[in-house]
């Protein structure tokens, strides 16, 4: 097996495990991930609790599983929002050019130069430390880079002959944009979206560390990892398992993203 398919299968395998766990956790976990048990606080991994318990006696495995679902949900919704609006604005901006482009780009550059943290804080204050606040904040932060990529691609596509051909045929600009330009932005967008999935899991974790993460008691990989810091010398398992989960998921997503990029690269497909 060559590397390309090796990394594809490795990536796909890791990602499917993560998705499977997330699905499973929505209706079954070994314990109730929110149930406190003061008698078994900070129990080491063992037969009862495979990954030990945390400072409030909750089962780490169950929390990790439920956290998978939340983290994946946050990650996917953010990516979806960022991509949707990023593509919309990027495509409009690149396709219309002129004044609309300049205005949109000035706003976009402002967003890019704007630390995501302030945005997160603002939204946290408005929406509370909730998944939706984080999703909106991160989506805003990441949409601006999608805008850049898409706009660049669209500017390139505009000069491609098939877009010109559509205009010569007498198709309207809207039709051309929707039918010919947007579908051809998919490859770079998918590649970006896969890397974004990983960044967002990490960003949520850093936000949790600064106290801006998803509100407890709902577990996410990020807030589990961030919360484990105080217990690192007495209860290393609190950090190891979420850390491992993040690393493996990211490895999977990145490998898959690389493989997808290779597959979607038009130059790879061009040869008959």
């Amino acid at each position: 097996m060559n590397r390309r398919s090796l990394s594809f299968w490795l990536g796909a395998g890791l990602v499917s495990v993560v998705v499977a766990v997330a699905l499973l956790a929505t209706f079954w976990t070994p314990y109730d991930p929110l149930k406190l048990d003061f008698k078994t606080r900070l129990a080491a991994p063992g037969w009862q609790h495979w990954m030990g318990t945390d400072e409030l006696g909750r089962d780490v495995l169950s929390r990790l599983m439920r956290g998978t679902a939340t983290s994946i949900r946050i990650s996917l919704s953010t990516v979806f929002l960022a991509t949707f609006f990023g593509v919309l604005i990027g495509a409009l901006s690149g396709y219309l050019r002129g004044w609309p482009d300049r205005i949109l780009m000035a706003i976009n550059d402002a967003l890019l130069a704007f630390p995501g943290l302030l945005m997160a804080l603002g939204l946290l204050a408005v929406f509370g430390a909730s998944a939706s606040g984080i999703i909106i904040a991160l989506a805003l932060a990441y949409a601006s880079s999608v805008v850049r990529v898409v706009r660049g691609t669209v500017l390139g596509l505009r000069e491609r002959d098939f877009v010109r051909a559509s205009r010569v045929m007498g198709n309207s600009e809207t039709y051309t944009l929707l039918r010919h330009v947007l579908p051809n932005c998919i490859a770079p967008v998918i590649v970006m979206a896969t890397s974004m999935c990983g960044w967002i899991i990490l960003a949520e974790s850093s936000l949790s560390f600064l106290g801006l993460g998803v509100a407890p008691p709902a577990p996410t990989w990020g807030n589990m990892l961030a919360g484990s810091r105080s217990y690192v010398s007495q209860a290393a398992w609190l950090a190891i398992f979420p850390g491992l989960a993040i690393s493996l998921a990211l490895l999977g997503i990145n490998l898959l993203g690389d493989a997808l990029r290779d597959r979607l690269d038009p130059r790879m497909r061009r040869r008959v």
């Binding site: 491609r160 002959d161 098939f162 010109r164 051909a165 559509s166 205009r167 010569v168 045929m169 007498g170 198709n171 039918r179 010919h180 579908p183 051809n184 038009p266 497909r269 061009r270 008959v272």
Partner: protein
Amino acid sequence: MTTSPALLQIQNLSLSAGPDKLVVRDASLQLAAGEIVGIVGESGSGKTMLSRAVMRLTPHAISRSGGDILLDGQSLYAMNERQLRAVRGPRVAMVFQEPMTSLTPTLSIGEQLLEGLRMHLPQARDEHMPRIHAMLERVGLRETQRILSAFPHEFSGGMRQRIMIASAMLLRPALLIADEPTTALDAVVQREVMEMMLELTRENGTAVLLISHDLPMVARYADRMVVMKQGDIVETGPTAQVLAAPAHDYTRQLLRTLPQRRAPRQIDRTAPLMSARDLVLEFGGRQRWFRKGAPARVLKGISLDIFPGEVVAVVGESGSGKTTLGMILSGLLQPTSGSLRYKGQPLRPGSPGFKDYRYNCQMVFQDPYSSLDPRMTVQALVAEALRMADGLSASDKRERVQQALADVGLGGDFATRYPHELSGGQRQRVAIARVLVRRPALMIADEAVSALDVTVRAQVLDLLAELQQRYGFSCLFISHDLGVVEQIADRVIVVQGGVIAEQGTRDAVFDQPQNPYTRQLLDAIPMLQATPDGGVHLRWRHAEDKASASANGAACPA
């Protein structure tokens, strides 16, 4: 034929791209010192791979599955990296097709020329610079000092190709591999570069392996020629002999497809379908924040008429504004000044005739790769052109699409394929079908066949002629391939630097050119003319050039 011992011997070489995919099959070829051998053949027949193998520079995916290559009697496949590096450069050098991408964009010309000398002749340091200057002057470049500190992007394609040749010849190699060295250049420049290259190799006694799909060029310069098809060498022999009496079917087919002048047609030139007056186009320069850049005037007042059913060819040097003219006529660009009339009516968006014009005036783009949306099937691509067609029912439309696809020879399962599943010729046919399905009044074809290999090009040209016969549309045919123009045009327009240098009927322009530039263009490359016994012979368009051609020592069996 030469009697000196073989410089290069390719012995039963097979190259494969995977377990059972042979790219080159059992190829044998000999090359003597100072000899020029041309390789021709269809696209994808393994010409490039064979020549790369001589440098042991095939892509990773390609491996040798049998045979050997000997240089001066030594097996290249027995050499280690060090020994190979001693061969690359001083013994065998290479000139690539695409001058744009063959020079490293980030290094100055001086650095790129110097590094080969430094690597292979470290002892003669003082000689390096004089040798480079001499070589640059030899390939016809002035101001050599300035050139050395410049970067590749500062040069035109022709200049770049000269630099490439200078770089290859600096070390006076025994063998020069030239893989389609002039495809990207216009006819005049093509000739200059080829002449210069061959003169230089002759001076140094360098053997040349010349790969090209341009038959007249190979015929003109090569001592011997090799014909390849699907990885096999199907024929090899002295050029004159192969051309005069081709032995293999494929070779015959190749020669048959050469463009030929057809009898002039009767065109009714009373009311022009489309006419342009005094077209001027300026590109506004880059719009800057504070002021505009100086405008570049690309078209400087062009007037032309296209009559119903007529094929008007536009030829001219690269950058003279041909594509720009096509885009204005198809409505993609607004002229800075000047007017367009369609069926006698001035054209303005929204004017009564505009819808008719938009529907009936269509363009085929130069690049078949880029003019089809890679995400649509052939069927969808063609059907899209009928989206605007009023008064056609869905089933009518379906029928028209089927008909158009059948017309261009893409019936059956082609309809459900995607562009990347088609060959270049098939793609170009889709682009044509997309225009024809509308039964347009005017088709603007920008270099519609120049990306295709000889056989496919012939198919497409025949198809066009047949369809034009059937549907009777007019055509503005932009091309730098004079052979093709000669075959299909009713009238020819020669543009130079944004103005019309000369225009007239095909026969007038080709036989009695008035303008010096037109003559230069026509005289750059000889043409091949079929002989009754199935072969061809080389013929110059204007007799007075024959003398100079033979003086250059070209093989000229006529």
